[in-house]
Symmetry: C2
Subunit: 724 residues, 2 copies
């Protein structure tokens, strides 16, 4: 397994000539040459940074307080003996990784008990970037489990489980989230686990009727959880009321399984090996009636069921996961563009002219074209997901106020806001988790063979990452759902409705936009005008949706692919709109950061929006054909060239420290080869040059001839005897 290509593959190296026979090595039997100096190259390029890193970091994170909190948390994590990363962890087996995660959970609870909750959540969010298994193992309890109790339970039920029983600080009780079943993923309403009311004993009987209803993938169930919130069909007096939620204890205070509970480890996974996902089967497990979460649906002692209208609100609290995944996409993007761009500056390959030093990877046009659009996307994702986070926090706060004060107007607005949040979070979660997966893949390939080494981080992060495209809303299902809402919204606007308090308000222009005959972007200069680009996206969404409305009457299913495209366009509109606003609001005209951000925003929309969807923009006449080549080839190349000299500063601006970046070839000092070799040696002692199974290997190599091993029974002598 050598990472090779043959010389005559001709990366544009100079033509081969006859060897020059002038002596050019130092005399003597051993040659000695100048080693590579990647750290020097990185330092030189770093010196070009002509803006204030603090200003840029605050731009990315949204404000000074958040930026400072994040920098302090980086420091806290880097110093913490348990939370910090170590190269040898890339060699951990599943068992070791699970134990490491358990130790980190223990360490994290110490902060959870003592620091403000907002700060702790930010800490957990950052830890999730470097240890996604830790993130999800804590989040199944303090996120999914408790959010479900909060959203579906009464205030007293929440107080009981979270505070009195201390699940809120991961003490006494550890909750998991028993939603998905072996046969039911996206279709939660189709869950088949049953919760049958037994009027005689005032209990629910939780039961798994058949193999398909086995709870599956339940994070924390295999070894950690003491309780689960169980999604099960409420059955009262032979009537099926659909899926509701129930607290079901799984283990006693000595952590032994309770009777009727069968649990197993799901075993090996593509990634997140540190999570103890389990399956659960319930056999006639009885829980008291008051273990049902009864904020909305209630069952009384006599088995009377009440179903209030606002039950949909119970799902708001579950949106948190999607918002978090969108933000994770930004931080993962920052981490991997930093690694790949530092490497691209420090690494040299082929000379452009004979006799000259080899060229830095980043000086190849294609290399710029592969990486810089992702850098620009990461900037856009930073700003856009910061807005999404704030939008989500505000929504939750308003909901609490509205319900507490019984403020009907605020409640109405909150419901409108929830609708926006469903589209925005669904569309950002799906689009950005997909793009982040692509980004990790492309940055890995851009580091050549070294991208494949675990110690540079790509492999584990990719494997841990990609489940984000599937869970808490499969990306295609989420995107189709967002796309459907967009089409319906355009239809409503075309029918005269005016959108208010919705993040889709830009679609109020759909009537004109969808009728426009003239292209929005007709000449090259138009591509430089952000407002025009926003109008072009809005125009495409309007025309595309209008085109699909008649088909949607026949079959929503048949336009699945188109709905996914609409969702992606919506995400990009959101990101671009936010980026543009923040650039105008926060960065002064004379700030040295401004010209860089202007290049970045252009590269973002040219290579992530206009380029990838160019066939749709052309098909609907939103962009004129004569600027197509400019958009797909010429302008991106020019913008890349503008950004190229500043790649070190632009990635330094993310301010992620070495221990967080956790990549031997991606460290701040750019000393690629020394950092890499020394750590590889630390983790893999070179004195172990024989494998543990070396004896068998040597025996194979030193085996005797086939004839001997066949006891010479096929040889001529045997033939002579056996043939007679």
């Amino acid at each position: 397994m050598a990472m090779l290509s043959q010389p005559n593959d001709g990366h544009d190296h100079p033509e081969k000539k006859d060897p020059d026979t002038t002596p050019k090595q130092v005399a003597g039997v051993i040659s000695s040459q100048d080693p590579p100096h990647p750290a020097k190259d990185v330092a030189e390029e770093r010196a070009r940074t002509d803006w204030d890193l603090k200003e840029m970091h605050e731009f990315l994170e949204g404000d000074e307080a958040k930026s400072e909190q994040i920098l302090r948390l980086y420091q806290s994590i880097e110093r913490d003996p348990i939370l910090q990363t170590r190269p040898e962890q890339f060699d951990y087996t599943q068992k070791q990784e699970r134990e490491l995660v358990a130790n980190r959970i223990n360490q994290m609870t110490k902060f959870l008990e003592t620091e403000p909750y907002g700060k702790f959540r930010r800490r957990l969010q950052l830890m999730t970037v470097i240890d996604p298994s830790l993130g999800i193992r804590m989040l199944v309890n303090i996120g999914l489990f408790l959010n479900c109790v909060r959203g579906n339970g009464t205030q007293k039920q929440f107080d009981f489980w979270s505070n009195k029983k201390e699940a809120g600080i991961v003490k006494q009780l550890y909750g998991c989230f028993g939603m998905t079943e072996l046969g039911h993923g996206s279709n939660v309403a189709g869950c088949e686990t049953t919760a049958t009311f037994d009027e005689k004993t005032d209990e629910f009987i939780i039961d798994t009727p058949h193999i398909g209803a086995t709870k599956w993938w339940i994070g924390g169930a295999a070894h950690s959880a003491t309780h689960t919130v169980c999604y099960a069909r409420l059955i009262v007096k032979d009537v099926d009321y659909g899926v509701k939620t129930f607290i079901v204890p799984l283990r006693d205070s000595r952590h032994s399984l309770l009777p009727g509970i069968a649990i197993g480890d799901i075993g090996a996974k593509m990634g997140r090996q540190g999570v103890d996902n389990g399956w659960i089967q319930f056999t006639e497990v009885r829980v008291p009636r008051f273990f049902m979460l009864q904020r909305w649906c209630k069952v009384d002692r006599q088995g009377n069921v009440t179903l209030p209208p606002l039950e949909q609100l119970s799902y708001i609290s579950l949106l948190e996961g999607r918002v978090g995944m969108a933000t994770d996409s930004y931080r993962i993007g920052a981490r991997y563009t930093t690694i790949a761009l530092r490497y691209a500056v420090g690494r040299r390959q082929f000379s452009k002219k004979a006799g000259e030093p080899e060229t830095k990877l980043i000086d190849y046009t294609l290399h710029q074209r592969r990486l810089l659009p992702y850098l620009a996307l990461t900037y856009a994702a930073a700003v856009g997901t910061d807005r999404l986070e704030r939008q989500h926090e505000e929504l939750l706060a308003n909901l609490d106020i509205a319900l507490a004060k019984k403020d009907k107007l605020l409640l109405k607005n909150t419901i409108t806001g929830t609708k926006s949040m469903f589209v925005d979070s669904g569309s950002l979660k799906s689009t950005l988790t997909w793009l982040a997966a692509d980004l990790i893949n492309e940055t890995r390939q851009a580091c050549g063979g070294h991208g494949y080494s675990s110690y540079n981080g790509f492999g584990k992060t990719y494997d841990d990452w990609v489940v984000q495209c599937t869970w808490e809303g499969d990306n295609n299902v989420l995107a189709m759902s967002a796309g459907k809402t967009i089409i319906k919204t355009v239809q409503q606007v075309l029918n005269g409705k005016e959108l208010k308090d919705s993040t889709l308000e830009f679609l109020n222009a759909a009537p004109e936009l969808s009728k426009a005959k003239k292209a929005v972007i007709r000449i090259r200069d138009h591509v430089d005008d952000v407002d025009r680009v926003l109008k072009a996206i809005a125009g495409l969404i309007s025309k595309f949706s209008k085109d699909l409305i008649p088909i949607s009457y026949q079959s929503w299913d048949s336009i699945g692919a188109q709905r996914v495209i609409l969702s992606k366009l919506r995400c990009h509109y959101y990101l671009l709109e936010t980026f543009n606003e923040r650039l105008n609001d926060k960065i002064k005209a004379k700030s040295p950061a401004r010209p860089h951000l202007e290049n970045i925003i252009k590269l973002y929309y040219v290579t992530n929006i206009l380029g990838p969807f160019i066939d749709e923009f052309l098909r609907f006449g939103v962009i004129s054909p004569q600027v197509a080549k400019y958009i797909t080839y010429e302008y991106p190349q020019k913008l890349c060239a503008n950004i190229r000299p500043y790649v070190i500063g632009l990635t330094d601006s993310f301010q992620q420290p070495d221990n967080f970046i956790n990549s031997l070839i991606g460290k701040y000092d750019g000393n690629i080869y020394t950092n890499y070799l020394e750590s590889v040696k630390d983790v893999n002692d070179p004195s172990n040059y024989k494998a543990p199974y070396s004896e068998a290997l040597e025996a194979m190599l030193n085996r005797s001839a086939l004839e001997n091993r066949e006891r010479s029974e096929r040889g001529k002598a045997a033939a002579d005897i056996l043939s007679k």
Copy 2:
């Protein structure tokens, strides 16, 4: 970690209604419902297969003999106690995996010693699909090492190392391939390890001058190899003759490292954990002059160096790896489309109408659109890579004859053939390994959460696979190289040259094609005409290349991205041309297989060629804008609908047995849930419901209150004392 999405994400399920209070559960406290019947669904769909699987398999594999050999080999592997797959292997640690691979190598040598070499190579190729680490560990010796000795050494040198020293049967000697260095991947000519001739002792001194020249990624070096072929700069009398090859012993017959050799384990990798990749540093290691491979370049006793003109031919033998990777892409594609399509038939999610059974995944339009183009691609890749294999074998055979008989005409043709082979193998290797990576990713996502379980195969295969995009020619470097040759070829043809004996002969039409004003595909019917589609691709290649010629005079570098596109188009032309010819040659007009293959070939080119490159086809006026929407949306949907009823038979036609497919949800019988749960239980004993580290976890949950743990030193009592 539950794989969930909320009910109101609205996969087009029916509108929510008030619960129907008519009793519909069986009476009693426990409900019992009908479990899912995926096996029944798969069996029913299998019954639709109306063609002969044997005929189809022969079509895919090229001929009856090859098809039969492959089926027998599948059987042999499935029965073999060491070579067969087992679900528990997905849980193996790196150490276990390496030992498993070593045992398999031992088993494989028994076949290598006794069966015809061609059959053994096919066995190894198939084993590579299920155990890529085994494949590469054997291939570094019998492929790369021995091919290098064959290509660069004299016949006697090859006989010595391969036969007398028995490296050819992995006995006595185990060779590795010491090409790549820490600082040099693609640019082999830039390697910095030195081989300095010492005239006094008639030896070469092999030396690593600095850290950047450390041999890196060397498969088998860490623990297995006894020798390496070392790529090093030949230095004689202070003159640097460039990179040549030398046999350097690494370990003695007791497998201990020789003096001057430092070797270490590269450690953890994204995939292929079963390979013992190592790094090597040489410090004044002396080897006799006759350890230099001297088929082309020779150094005599006095230090006179001769460099004959045909040295380029030494690289032919290294093309084998690229050809193999192209073929691997087909077999991996077959394996994963089989899994995902069986699952898509057996798995149901959401009902299209209230009260109806849930819908099979494959009956969603988007699901068809996601998977069936990959199925079609796999068929095209089967046929195209079979041709590439045969073309490669013929080339090697002719080269041997030409050199043995000193047949100058044949040698000239062989050199032309080599040029074709460089473009074809580079372009197919890069395009198909990228597409296979996409295919594994998309099929995994199409299996939802279950795609993330190791036992269904996706994760390990993806991780093992993606290095194929990097090694033996980085895909972008290879594609740019192929693209460059294509542009130059078009230029030559435009200047009047006629291509002969080249697989690029279709470009002889470039003069007319590049001038054509009328689009090749103007109306819908044109899309059904394969010859016209071939002409459209040739037309696009011609026009695109012609457009780039003037820029190439300035800078090849600036058109890197365009060269990659040309390479992809060249790959698809090759696949489509071959598919079309074989369909016409081998499948009778009345064969029941024909209509299916006609749908498949159309879906292949519409969704893999015309669609993805539509913007280029439009920009160069090869396709008229009025058919664009038909090509990107309407026709693919129709073709998918035609193919949809036969997906079980179309994947059965690959004939890969269960043990080879090695996926719990992808088995032939379609009994998804039972196969899955039972094996997960076998591998993860449910009686282990406590983690090995459970004590620490329980101690955390049962910890005392914070105040106690702080020795009450922050409480009011302490405050009273300490404040006084």
